[in-house]
């Protein structure tokens, strides 16, 4: 990296400024045009096969993924990515990106993160909001097959958001998307969806703190039930979602 790294890689979450809060809300919004709402990450198959039939089942499925999958691999990796982008360690960004892509254990899960990553890189490199940040377009374009968390972490770092706050917001966006998929697929009422978001959302600060501290040797993406559900979804006859 030739450009100077953005300052303030690590801020205390309490120091999140109002502009940074607004930036995070924009990044975590379902309005971010990357098509997240078209993916269920295997949940649609779990509904199809009867593993998820109601609000309680959906809460368990999503909560267990937070405990064992997204929260233990994607989350600590995202935090490392935010830090690596912020201090200009582009080789580390590339390494983490490659590890994330090859850790996606099915065709659909891999295609999902690559499509969303591609869409977000395009968006970020076209946005004027990034024009004031020297080098970011080139740095983003330099990543081979960018995954979604890689591109998302770049935006968080470019906007000077610390890893802890970014992580909580990223997990929230993931959670909201999963719960909305459950609302459509099970289906559940809107109140049930909000109850799930409130209950599972309450776990996010602890999950984010644990993910920030988790050494890489303990990252875990071993969720064979999810892998089977996602593989089976690839041949599901009638479906709303792309994963």
């Amino acid at each position: 990296m030739s450009e100077a790294a953005p300052a303030a890689a690590v801020l205390a979450p309490a120091a999140l400024g109002q502009l940074q809060l607004v930036r995070l809300l924009q990044l975590a919004s379902p309005a971010l045009p990357v098509g997240a709402y078209t993916y269920s990450q295997g949940l649609e198959w779990a509904v199809e096969c009867g593993a998820v039939r109601d609000e309680a089942d959906a809460g368990r499925w999503i909560g267990d993924l937070l405990s064992h999958g997204a929260g233990r691999f994607e989350a600590p990796l995202l935090a490392r990515l935010v830090q690596a982008w912020a201090v200009g360690e582009d080789a580390e960004v590339a390494r983490l990106n490659d590890d994330f892509v090859c850790s996606r254990e099915t065709s659909e899960l891999r295609a999902e993160t690559l499509q969303m990553g591609y869409s977000l890189v395009r968006l970020l490199t076209e946005l004027d909001a990034f024009a004031g940040l020297p080098g970011w377009r080139e740095r983003l374009r330099g990543i081979d097959s960018p995954a979604f968390p890689t591109a998302w972490a770049a935006a968080a770092a470019a906007w000077n958001i610390d890893a802890g706050a970014a992580l909580a917001a990223y997990l929230w966006a993931w959670l909201e998307n999963q719960v909305m998929a459950a609302v459509k697929a099970v289906p559940l009422g809107q109140s049930a969806g909000q109850r799930l978001l409130a209950g599972l959302g309450a776990r996010l600060p602890e999950l984010a703190a644990a993910a920030l501290a988790l050494p890489e040797a303990e990252w875990s993406n071993f969720t064979p039930g999810l892998a089977i559900a996602s593989s089976r979804h690839e041949t599901q006859y009638t479906r709303l979602f792309r994963s």
Binding site: F73, S220, P224
Partner: protein
């Protein structure tokens, strides 16, 4: 390799067995030969076998203590040279014995050169309640090398009704081709932990298995053929990543998983290694 000779290993030390086995397979004319075989400690191959003719060298990796206890450290290095074809298996179920706290470790490193084929098909591992283990697998492929590998673990001695209520098995597997990672899986199964019963985890099943077939030749047609085969008992599914076909099994016992993997292997082997199925005789004993 030479450095490990210094490790006293004829008897298990206070730190457990330290064993290392290096196997080098080479293509000589139209034969695959076991050209290098060095070991320290109790991890051996007695001889090369040729049950399907000279083109494929079979080897049975024997660990005489028949199981891993806390403090053991076993390393298996397999190097398959250009154009050589090796099939490796084990003589029976491996075991991760109960530990007093220290971890046992099995480290498997497999390198396959251009045009080579390595089939790494150990029999299942039984993870005793209270076992603490680490299973590390690293595969390095070059050019169009082919790797077909399987792992199957049974958590608890289900035959005697044992559940895996305590202990840990940590898993880490990475496959690279020409330096680029195709596959990375890291996991940690905690005895009595929520992953065991979770629908996203083992779903209450004691047995979990993964079959990986890495080759530039895997394609949608092969995926469809594999998807046409289902396990008789338990849950199984197949997916296709770039250059890698992945089959997963969850079920009540190893037998139905093994039968399903063998049926998939019967489809994969001719397509990827150009040879018909050849079940090692030791699996039937």
């Amino acid at each position: 390799m030479n450095a490990v000779v210094e490790c006293p290993s004829l008897t298990p030390s206070a730190h457990g067995w330290q064993a290392e086995l290096h196997l080098g397979f080479r293509r000589r004319g139209d034969r695959s030969v076991l050209a290098e075989r060095r070991h320290v400690g109790p991890l051996v191959v007695q001889r090369a076998l040729y049950p399907e003719g000279g083109e494929v060298c079979h080897a049975i990796v024997v660990h005489p203590p028949a199981g891993i206890v806390g403090g053991d450290s076993l390393t298996l290095n397999v190097d398959v040279g250009a154009g050589a074809h090796a099939l490796l298996t084990t003589p029976g179920a491996g075991k991760w014995y109960r530990s007093e706290g220290r971890a046992g470790r099995l480290s498997q490193r497999i390198a396959v050169a251009e045009g080579g084929v390595c089939e790494w098909l150990p029999q299942e591992s039984i993870v005793y309640e209270g076992a603490v283990g680490e299973l590390l697998t690293e595969v390095e492929l070059a050019g169009d090398a082919c790797f077909i590998g399987s792992e199957m673990s049974c958590f608890g001695r289900t035959g005697s009704g044992e559940r895996f209520g305590r202990g840990t098995l940590a898993l880490a597997t990475r496959i690279r081709r020409d330096g680029k990672s195709l596959w990375l899986e890291r996991g940690r199964v905690e005895g009595g932990g929520s992953l065991m019963d979770s629908p996203v985890g083992l779903g209450g099943h004691p047995v979990v298995g993964t079959l990986l077939a890495a080759s530039p030749r895997v394609d949608g047609e092969l995926l469809a053929a594999c998807r046409g085969i289902a396990p008789a008992v338990g849950e199984g599914a197949v997916t296709l990543l770039p250059g890698l076909l992945v089959a997963r099994y969850l079920g009540p016992g190893c037998e139905p998983g093994r039968i399903w993997f063998n049926r998939l292997w019967a489809v994969l082997r001719p397509a990827l290694a150009g040879r018909p199925l050849a079940i090692p005789r030791i699996w039937n004993t």
